[in-house]
């Protein structure tokens, strides 16, 4: 148990005493087989760490005892059938579930060494650090420039107009959109194509210098060309950010991610290197789902 505690202390960035005080919830944990998950839930350089996370929507137990590290500069894909809890889990990572009535989250979710559910954590600041891109592109009904400048303005990131201009340009460049929009920055963001709008939303998330970007089926409304551009962008963004992506496309998960997590009925069934998951999954439920035998 001591060895386990030491490991846990290291993993969650807490002192041994902190951990001991939570021993009622942590007792008997097995890092390598936590919550019944098959595969290695920890990584060497975690950006986020979740431990024993449960989510309830009223009486419905949507996420069951999920523990998972999300590594720095990695793309982790979350897959599973509809209703498995993958989006719910994703939305826990920046407290988007706070806005859902009747939703209750227990367990620990750490961003670096900070508990994001700590009472002193400001959800608005958190959501700048952990940005989100949704299924359907949702640009503000404002100009392209203002869509990207909005976040830095409200967070006081830019002191001058010149600084703001720099942030807008660099964010649009990183999102691979600059060359397409630089001559029409004052036009409405809603006037762009679907793929451009989604990249605008990614630029908007980047503009506030997040550490983590959450993507909830970011390509499901896009054609294959726009999808390819987003996937290429995800690969480039990995150099500077950690990315968690929920996707129904297993091919997309296989293409863009380094690790893959498979959810089923609220349980995290298996997590592993994406290559391993798609060539030799260890859990039968994972195998059945990804091979199309899930009925």
């Amino acid at each position: 148990m001591n060895a386990t505690m030491d490991t846990l202390s290291d993993v969650v960035g807490s002192t041994a005493a902190d951990v001991a005080s939570r021993s009622d919830t942590m007792d008997g944990l097995n890092i390598r087989n936590f919550g019944g998950t098959v595969g290695e839930i920890t990584v060497a350089n975690p950006r986020m760490r979740t431990r024993s996370v449960d989510v309830y929507y009223g009486d419905k137990h949507a996420i069951k005892n999920v523990s998972l590290d999300i590594g720095s500069n990695e793309v982790i894909a979350m897959i599973g059938p509809s209703g498995c809890g993958k989006s719910t889990f994703l939305r826990c990572l920046n407290r988007m579930n706070d806005t859902v009535e009747g939703c209750r989250v227990t367990g620990q979710i750490m961003l670096d060494s900070k508990d994001i559910y700590d009472k002193h954590m400001d959800p608005v600041v958190l959501r700048a650090q952990v940005g989100m891109v949704f299924q359907k592109p949702n640009p503000f009904p404002k100009s392209i420039y203002d869509n990207v400048a909005y976040g830095p303005k409200i967070h006081g990131i830019a002191a001058t107009r010149a600084e703001l201009d720099d942030i807008v340009e660099s964010s649009l460049r990183r999102a691979g959109l600059w060359d397409e929009v630089k001559d029409r920055m004052d036009q409405p963001g809603t006037g762009l194509s679907g793929g451009q709008q989604q990249r605008l939303c990614i630029a908007r998330a980047i503009a506030v210098s997040p550490e983590v970007i959450l993507m909830d089926e970011p390509c499901s409304a896009l054609d294959p060309i726009a999808t390819a551009k987003i996937e290429e962008l995800i690969d480039e963004l990995r150099q500077n950010y950690t990315i968690c992506i929920v996707t129904h496309s297993m091919q997309q998960a296989a293409r863009v991610s380094q690790r893959t997590a498979y959810f089923h009925l609220g349980d995290l069934i298996e997590v592993g290197e994406t290559t391993q998951i798609f060539t030799n999954p260890r859990h039968k439920l994972t195998e059945d789902y990804i091979t199309g035998r899930f009925g």
Partner: protein
């Protein structure tokens, strides 16, 4: 389970995987027929049968192309993953090995033509004595490798990999015996060279059967055992890795 054993939601996918396995088994039977008839041509000194073996290799080549096209179609249209992907890859490799085994059988047929055809060689039937025993062993290995494909059976596959050793030892013994023909009369050299090619071809067919068995293990367990010593292979070993 892998391949056709489990029901995909898309039943057409199951049917395609079943067709692929069926093609491999059919191709395997054709290769076995080639091998048996090539040996008969050697044993009986039957150049007509030998010609038939050489000619029939084209049928095997046709099945090779058809099988690889089916694999390509499955990869392109179904994007198989996990056990399905391993199964398709394994069948592609099995087809490749069967085609090469057929090439080896064709070599036996060509030798029979050289020795018993119009090549002007005076046959020395005793010189091919070891090839009969080696053909029996190679046919047995290939039959069992195909059974392992049919049933996707690890134990059968492991047994094939391990039993190839007997064929290898028989090959070595055959080479030593062929050397005595040279010691007796150096003018036997041309016959001995032909016989060495025959024994080597049979030894290679055993290797192809072994390869097929190893790919069955890969398809079922996801473990590449091609470079694992045969004596270390067992179901327990595979579970432990």
């Amino acid at each position: 389970m892998v391949g056709t054993e489990g029901g995909h939601i898309v039943q057409r996918f199951d049917a395609q995987l079943g067709s692929l396995k069926g093609l491999v088994l059919e191709m395997g039977q054709l290769v076995l027929q080639q091998l048996r008839e090539a040996q008969t041509a050697l044993t009986d000194g039957d150049p007509a049968l030998a010609r038939q073996v050489v000619h029939r290799d084209r049928e095997v080549n046709g099945m090779d192309i058809k099988g690889q096209e089916l694999c390509l179609e499955l990869l392109a249209t179904r994007q198989p993953v996990a056990s399905d992907l391993r199964f398709v890859m394994a069948m592609s490799q099995a087809i490749n090995n069967l085609e090469r085994a057929s090439d080896e059988a064709k070599k036996l047929g060509r030798t029979a033509l050289i020795v018993y055809g119009d090549g002007g060689m005076q046959p020395i039937p005793a010189i091919f004595q070891d090839s009969e025993r080696m053909t029996e062993l190679a046919v047995d290995l290939m039959e069992r490798a195909l059974e392992a494909v049919q049933d996707l059976d690890i134990d059968k596959a492991v047994a094939v990999v391990q039993d190839d050793q007997l064929l290898n030892e028989t090959f070595q013994g055959g080479l030593r015996r062929l050397a005595t023909f040279l010691f007796e009369d150096a003018r036997n050299v041309r016959h001995v060279i032909e016989a060495v090619f025959v024994l080597k071809a049979l030894e290679r067919i055993g290797d192809h059967a072994t390869n097929i068995a190893e790919f069955v293990i890969y398809a079922v367990k996801g473990q590449d055992v091609r470079y694992v010593q045969a004596e270390h292979l067992s179901s327990g070993f595979l579970d432990a890795v």
